[in-house]
């Protein structure tokens, strides 16, 4: 495990991730798909295996020592997650199946209780389908209105008309960082603008929480959600953070075991937070694994990770531009301070599917497609893009390997 030193070295960090040492056909793996899902460090793998070997038991519902200890480990992880994003307390941390379920929870619980025909929800043109489709489902059911913040020509949110767009809005739900463009949005400013208009502020934080320090209280947000699997934790687990008084006032979403304090033949009473929104047996070992992931990321230092990714962005932008000039088009901001290290690009007219196939011959793993953001793809005028996304364990050698592999793609097409 990496100590709390500030001498950040991704070449050392990557030794914590066993899969990154893997070779295919004698060539090293170049994993550039962390915006999709991240690789796992030994500490997460070992913590989960140790938990299942030595401590596994049901949580919250049995009196024996083994179960009490498992519950404590589970709740320790919740506390670690709360601290990681500077939540006011751990009752505000709800574990869900994934971040998509967290958004569906808000729309179905808060949305159905508070939004009627004609009410307005403001979204942006750079949202993931998970922050579009649940609202559209409510739109079909309730006849709510959806409004959109457009983009500027340099791939930022166009905030010039934000005040008028927010007029009469009940909810402003936006991403903290685009999974396609890499654009980092001014979350504090957007939350403040939402509140000034009397709207709720929801932050889809999936792309930023793994990569930069997060302080939900400083953001001034009402809700935020993110996924475990993008931040070195296991898949099958998402986190919903919400302000306690709002969560208190919301009706439950899924009904069943664990979320009740009383069930009678003529009705039920909800459990206290966070159990109220955690029906059924949760992903127990996964939560414990996520606890290990946030401890790991904290020990590396989120500010260090952010600095590393700014440096990575500078390197990638300069290197790709100097090697390929106009042959490469990067759909996203040029300023490394305003973006994460996620690069969607078009290259010499080669279709992204063909590109990723050829890159795979060099074990370079990139995503090709619409990245679950079809409205955005249409706006930037691409059916699909290739996307290379970097994380704490990626080095400049990975970026160079990407460029070398791109060269080889030109030889075929």
């Amino acid at each position: 495990m990496v100590g709390t030193n500030t001498a950040f070295d991704s070449a050392v960090i990557r030794r914590d991730f066993p899969l990154l040492a893997k070779e295919i056909d004698g060539k090293p793996l170049v994993y550039l798909d962390s915006a999709n899902t991240s690789q796992k460090p030994n500490i997460v793998i070992d913590t989960m295996a140790k938990f299942m070997r030595e401590s596994y038991a049901p949580i919250n519902r049995s009196a024996y020592t083994l179960a009490a200890n498992a519950t404590e480990l589970f709740e320790n992880a919740r506390n670690a997650v709360a601290k990681f994003i500077n939540s006011n307390n751990s009752r505000e941390i709800i574990f869900t199946k994934n971040a998509t379920e967290a958004l569906n929870l808000i729309v179905n619980s808060w949305g159905r209780a508070n939004l009627q025909r004609g009410d307005v929800v403001l979204l942006t043109h750079m949202e993931h389908h998970a922050n579009i489709v649940p609202w559209q489902m409510l739109q079909q059911e309730r006849g709510i209105e959806l409004r959109w913040v457009p983009l500027t020509s340099d791939f930022q949110l166009d905030l010039s008309s934000l005040e008028s767009l927010l007029t009469g809005v009940k909810v402003f739900s936006f991403t903290s960082m685009s999974n396609v463009l890499g654009t980092i949005n001014p979350v504090e400013k957007l939350c403040a603008a939402a509140h000034a208009a009397g709207a709720l502020a929801i932050v889809d934080a999936c792309q930023s929480v793994p990569h930069a320090p997060t302080d939900v209280q400083a953001w001034g947000a009402d809700f935020a959600m993110f996924s475990s699997h993008k931040m070195c934790g296991p898949s099958g687990l998402g986190v919903l953070w919400g302000r306690e008084e709002i969560l208190q006032a919301m009706p439950p979403y899924l009904g069943g075991g664990n979320m009740i304090s009383e069930v009678r033949l003529d009705g039920f009473t909800c459990a206290e937070l966070p159990a109220k929104f955690e029906a059924g047996t949760p992903a127990i070992a996964e939560v414990v694994g996520l606890g290990a992931a946030v401890e790991y990321l904290s020990s590396v230092g989120m500010a260090n990770i952010r600095q590393h990714e700014i440096a990575t962005s500078s390197y990638v932008l300069e290197m790709l531009t100097s090697r390929f000039g106009d042959d490469i088009t990067i759909h996203g901001p040029r300023n490394p301070e305003l973006r994460g290290a996620t690069f969607s690009f078009a290259f010499r007219g080669i279709h992204p599917h063909d590109l990723s196939q050829v890159l795979d011959q060099s074990n370079v793993c990139v995503r090709a497609g619409h990245h679950c953001a079809k409205p955005l793809m249409k706006i930037i005028g691409a059916n699909a893009t290739a996307r290379a996304s970097f994380y704490l364990y990626n080095t400049t050698a990975d970026a160079d390997a990407l460029a070398d592999a791109l060269d080889s793609a030109s030889d075929i097409f």
């Binding site: 599917h353 196939q357 011959q361 497609g369 059916n383 699909a384 097409f413």
Partner: protein
Amino acid sequence: MPGIEDLYREIILDHYRTPRNRGELPPPAVSCEGNNPLCGDDICIYLDVADGVVRDVKFSGQGCSISQSSTSMMTVAVKGKTVAEVQAFVRRFKHMMTLTEGDDEVDQSINLGDIEALQGVVKFPVRIKCATLGWNTLLEALKETQN
């Protein structure tokens, strides 16, 4: 890992670089759209059938080399065939792409010609949907002509 040369055979790249029958047909030709939700590729097939014979076929849309070349080769192959011949031809193709169960309805004597080059795609399972996109859209268009 299978070699990339199995996928990008010269005849495939030729049809990708110089697609045949690209364009549109006005009504009364039918048009049908198909898309691959996984990657966002879309293809539109225009089909002119008269007296049970494919008089003309064209295609438009965006996609990768495999979907574009496969559709291009398909249009060349089906033009002038009867509807029944086209259906048997599509079955033969999809069987090659290991998408149809059993051999009962597949006429193995049908010669796929250049289209055999697409057999290499089977080694790259993720791309089979690319290769069959145009063909499935053609079947939908055929249904439209029969309505």
